[in-house]
Symmetry: C2
């Protein structure tokens, strides 16, 4: 079993790589005898002998060549320019989120059996403002370049799957918590910033109101779902190639109260200075049903208490 992870030094990529490099880790019931990690920068020492690290941008053809020299059975394509940066640098977003994705897909389907291709899409494909509820029939109307680029990739992957070039599993990720601080930042990072502040018992000025609603999933549950996507028997997928992942819909107020229950005093740390535009784009998420993903076996954290515990754990040095 040969596995490739792009974006392997990102927040999600690191946790995924840690799971797959662990002793005895399997995928699709097979031992992982080669795990290739690719990202702009990677730790000097690979965590295990079967791990091969390739540092460089997937927007660079030579890097794609290097990581696809051998055939991969499963590809996790996580590398992406996030929402804020895709807005501020349209060319870079396009280069990585669209062109590099197309080039990677073309390269991994050469030689060997069609690989399973797990792609991290985003709820940004729905755009804003959102309709009163979201389900599997909600039309995609991205309102940021990031969402548009993710949707283009989803369509391409669906077509490549139909043609038998690969088996695509595009997962639309909700807010994954708690992310560490990033310089390039997703615009929606405030939920993780809030959680970090509460875990570290710092005061936090929240840029959306207490009634702002989010769709949240812990890092741990996110990794569980990525691994499930790579292993789920085809007959459970119902012929689909893209799923909106299950997530808990919570208001900022509910999230803070769940922290208060575990860490008394937490709610006193939070004050509110809502940014109307930010809240309109990222903080008015309607009720969500994900029947397709539920049927395929994707799962959220199950309870707010579990989400809060896992989100706090994701801030540990070796989470998930």
């Amino acid at each position: 079993m040969k596995v490739l992870i792009t974006g392997a030094d990102g927040y999600i990529g690191r946790a995924l790589a840690r799971r797959l490099a662990a002793p005895g880790a399997t995928l699709q019931g097979q031992a992982i005898d080669q795990l290739t990690l690719c990202d702009l920068r990677l730790p000097e020492a690979p965590p295990a002998p079967q791990v091969r690290a390739v540092a460089g941008s997937i927007a660079d053809a030579a890097v794609i060549d290097a990581i696809t020299q051998n055939h991969h059975d499963v590809v996790f394509h996580l590398a992406s320019v996030p929402s804020g940066q895709s807005e501020s640098d349209h060319e870079l977003g396009l280069k990585v989120n669209v062109h590099a994705t197309l080039a990677l897909v073309e390269a991994v389907q050469r030689g060997g059996a069609a690989p399973t291709f797990v792609f991290t899409s985003s709820i940004a494909v729905f755009g804003a403002p959102l309709p009163a509820r979201i389900d599997d029939d909600t039309p995609l109307r991205p309102s940021l370049s990031y969402g548009a680029q993710k949707q283009m990739a989803e369509i391409f992957l669906a077509d490549c799957t139909r043609r038998g070039f690969l088996h695509a599993r595009s997962l639309r990720l909700p807010g994954i918590v708690a992310r560490p601080p990033t310089p390039t930042g997703a615009l929606s990072a405030f939920s993780s910033e809030l959680i970090r502040a509460l875990v570290e018992q710092r005061s936090f000025v929240c840029p959306v109101s207490a009634s702002a609603t989010l769709w949240l999933l812990s890092l741990e549950a996110c990794i569980d779902n990525l691994l499930h996507a790579a292993q789920c028997p085809p007959e459970r997928l119902g012929g689909h190639t893209a799923w909106t992942l299950p997530a808990q819909r919570l208001s900022i107020g509910e999230l803070v109260r769940a922290f208060e229950a575990e860490r008394p005093g937490a709610s006193a740390l939070v004050s509110y200075r809502p940014d109307e535009a930010l809240e309109a784009q990222f903080g008015r998420l309607p009720p969500l049903t994900t029947a397709r993903a539920d049927a395929a076996g994707f799962r959220h954290d199950g309870s707010v208490a579990q989400l809060v515990r896992r989100a706090a754990r994701a801030l540990d040095p070796a989470p998930a």
Copy 2:
């Protein structure tokens, strides 16, 4: 007023170029002082002094450079690898329908005011089988690479419009009749083949049944709609960037009867040998409503008799 047409030697491109190169032709109320035509091959002698011809593939960066040396106020991007060829040669379809479109868009938005960008998309974005009726809310689920590639381009153009790089007008074309024979052929070419046979009083074995239904628009009405797209005041567009063009929904039987009314004996020329797969993909078009396009002023031919007359006229050496 400087205008660019890609795919200018295609069936639609030639008719559009003829209209825009005609003496006194205007666009957006202005005289056309430069008309750049681009296609793989172009006639030796440009039809008018203001016409500049660039022969070559838009998948070639040097060709994109050549055609975008000066700024264009209006771009008609018609160049495309058709449905059949996009299925048989995935790489070529992707190169022209996606990569070249992205490269062209990037090039035309450099320098000068944001151009109006008229893009010929296709009803192939809906895929097959189709739901019981199609309207502006019907989800796009392309079932051929051609449709997937057109949808990717639509999404990209919508995002570029939101960002102010250009003003996109993507028109999803129904069956345009009557096309001349082509070697590379659209899979849906049978409706044009039927019309050509009836005009030329030849017998025709129809590869779909008499009850097969199509959405049809004459070449003349198609050109009218492309020109309208380039000139329609923004306030009529309702913030949209893509429209399914109005078309008449006709069965093959109705089409043949309309010919019979004008050319007695026509129906005796037609026999049927339906190809189930072809009919499923292209011959089961449900009722169509195009409220958005109607409101923006796009129009079909108005009557079956008018469609049949215009379709026959499109086969003349200098149609539309």
